[in-house]
């Protein structure tokens, strides 16, 4: 579901597993919609002509389309604050299941926030390394600097990819940030600039809210704007199953590339529709158009 890369100049999207390559020489925006049917199941067999994209309310031309499984570059941010202490094992064990569900081309960075904001230096698909991080580096305690952690996490992915700071990396694929938390930020200095950056740089925000105060309204709004999703779990719910559902969702999104109607560097509203009754589309509701070079 979600936006991936706003590309200036040549766009080259490598699509796994078939290694199909799309090339374009125009400025484009890529989004990754998720489509669910009436029963809530993922719908993965739609064709390009089944979709409609509206940029600021006007139809936009879809020039890139794929329903192949796409690799993901994700950040998993785990809330280790004091209020999460009684769920420490549950979170760790469920995160292991998420790691297990990664596909060969996927990459993941694991981060925690609590007493410290700690992002693993590893952005990798190596499951042994990711498991080691989960085994050795999760420490409960402290406050909930959720937005600061999100900001640090967004900073870390362009840095790792070699892209310029503040610019959407080329060919990055989707960049979901998955937050697992029981509540509301208690110690971040700022929130609005973090939200603006997430939209501008086309991160997809996902939230898994554990029982507690729940995900804040502001965070849920951002999740919707970025085309991510959120789960609100009760104490008895299976967190591991939620992680597996999320991994499945991330691997079953479509890729749609379109040219914005105006290459003006401004925020645009976005709507992705499917011409089928009863189907639901989850996609970003905003994007920032690239600037014509």
């Amino acid at each position: 579901m979600k936006v991936a890369a706003a590309v200036t100049a040549a766009l080259v999207l490598a699509v796994f597993p078939r290694q199909q390559v799309f090339r374009s020489n125009i400025d484009m925006v890529a989004v990754y919609p998720l489509v669910t049917g009436p029963e809530g199941r993922f719908v993965t067999d739609l064709r390009q002509q089944d979709f409609e994209v509206f940029d600021n309310g006007q139809p936009a031309d879809v020039s890139i389309f794929s329903r192949d499984r796409q690799p993901i570059t994700a950040l998993l941010l785990l809330d280790m604050s004091a209020s999460m202490e009684d769920r420490w094992m549950r979170v760790r064990d469920a995160a292991v299941r998420f790691v297990d569900a990664l596909e060969p081309a996927d990459r993941l960075r694991i981060g925690t926030f609590g007493s410290e904001i700690a992002l693993s230096p590893h952005l990798t698909g190596d499951k042994a390394i990711l498991s080691r991080v989960l085994r050795e580096e999760l420490w409960p305690g402290g406050s909930t600097p959720l937005w600061s952690a999100m900001s640090a996490g967004m900073q870390s992915i362009p840095l790792e990819s070699g892209g310029a700071l503040g610019a959407p990396p080329m060919n990055q694929g989707r960049r979901p940030i998955v937050l697992v938390t029981d509540g509301i930020d208690t110690s971040s200095a700022v929130q609005a600039p973090v939200a603006a950056r997430a939209i501008r740089e086309q991160f997809m925000i996902y939230g898994i809210g554990l029982e507690g105060k729940g995900l804040s309204t502001r965070l849920v709004d951002l999740i919707g704007q970025t085309g991510g999703g959120h789960f609100d779990l009760k104490r008895s719910d299976d967190l591991g199953a939620a992680f597996l559902r999320l991994a499945d969702e991330l691997h079953n999104q479509y890729l749609i590339g379109f040219t914005p109607l105006a290459l003006d560097g401004q925020p645009h509203s976005l709507e992705v529709r499917v011409k089928r009754e009863g189907f639901r589309v989850r996609a970003p509701t905003q994007f920032v158009a690239p600037v014509r070079k």
């Binding site: 420490w88 925690t112 410290e116 230096p121």
Partner: protein, 317 residues
């Protein structure tokens, strides 16, 4: 600690195996061993007959026991991050008033402050007051997070390469290590190969966290540090008795009472660690020159004595 090989193939022994004769080269190796009483003080006056060395579970003949070199090359890693219960003024005071003045004139010392990457001082001058000033400025500049303790330890091990005196990495940390490139096992292997003993003063504590109605998680951040010290022949000193057993949020009055009655002692414990490593024995024994990794165990015929020696060694070829 484990210094390497001293003498080369001294003898060739013949062993009869299945009717054939196989010749195995032997080499003499030496390793430093700390022997401490239950209070953590070194036990002096031990002789060769008091020791027993086992390689891969088999007893080997100890050829010599002597005093290890007293002067040390030390890199102290100070954890001043957010998760460390000790405040920076407590750390500064422990180093300036207690640990640095207690060092020997022949010691070579650097101090590193946990950050990304490790901020490491130059070799400190012999004047403890000047050293304290340098260390204080280093600690005050440290960032609050994260805590890549294993990466920092690796940097410290590398920085000790080429040192002639026994090599020590001392760590003052609660053990909440995170954001590491390297894992704990990597660092242990590197320390063993480099002959570095890792010693620790930690206020990591232990907590039992209820995990739902019928489960609990035992969280002990400094367990990894204790293992690292044990593997490399270093000494582990737990600190913070008060904070280990109580949480200030749950019972602030009891916490303060315990804190006053049993204050943290990072300075004396660091000094005790250094003293223990300064008064080690140097054991020499023969081992097959097979180039293989062997388990090492050293026992001492003293009730209650704790023996600290590296748990593995790579035999020379």
């Amino acid at each position: 600690m484990n210094s390497a090989v001293v003498r080369l193939v001294a003898t060739l022994i013949a062993a009869g195996i299945a009717g054939s004769v196989q010749r195995v080269a032997m080499v003499t190796v030496t390793y430093d061993v700390a022997v401490l009483d239950p209070g953590g003080s070194p036990i002096a006056g031990l002789r060769v007959e008091d020791f027993e060395a086992l390689v891969a579970g088999e007893s080997v003949a100890i050829t010599r026991v002597s005093a290890a070199q007293a002067d040390l090359s030390i890199i102290l890693i100070v954890d001043a991050t957010n998760s460390q219960p000790l405040k920076r003024y407590e750390i500064n005071n422990a180093l300036a008033s207690q640990w640095l003045p207690g060092l020997s004139a022949g010691d070579r010392v650097r101090v590193g402050v946990l950050a990304t990457p490790l901020t490491l001082s130059a070799w400190l001058p012999s004047d403890p007051r000047v050293s304290a000033g340098l260390v204080r400025s280093l600690i005050e500049r440290a960032g609050p997070e994260p805590s890549p303790l294993w990466d920092a330890t690796h940097v410290a091990i590398e920085a000790l390469a080429g040192e002639k005196a026994p090599k020590i990495v001392a760590i003052l940390s609660d053990g909440r290590s995170n954001a590491n490139v390297r894992g704990l096992d990597d660092v242990a292997d590197r320390a063993l190969n480099a002959g570095v003993a890792i010693s620790v003063v930690s206020e990591g504590g232990e907590r039992l966290l209820a995990q739902g109605a019928d489960a609990a998680a035992r969280i002990r951040p400094d367990a990894s540090l204790e293992w690292l010290a044990d593997q490399t022949g270093g000494v582990f000193m737990p600190d913070g008795v008060a904070r280990r057993s109580l949480r200030p949020q749950q019972d602030p009055f009891a916490y303060v009472r315990e804190l006053v009655q049993t204050p943290n002692r990072p300075g004396p414990l660091l000094t005790q660690v250094t003293s223990a490593l300064r008064q080690r024995y140097r054991l020499s024994f023969s081992t097959p020159a097979d180039g293989l990794l062997h388990r090492l165990e050293v026992r001492v015929a003293r009730t209650g004595a704790a023996v600290h020696v590296q748990k593995r060694f790579l035999a020379p070829r």
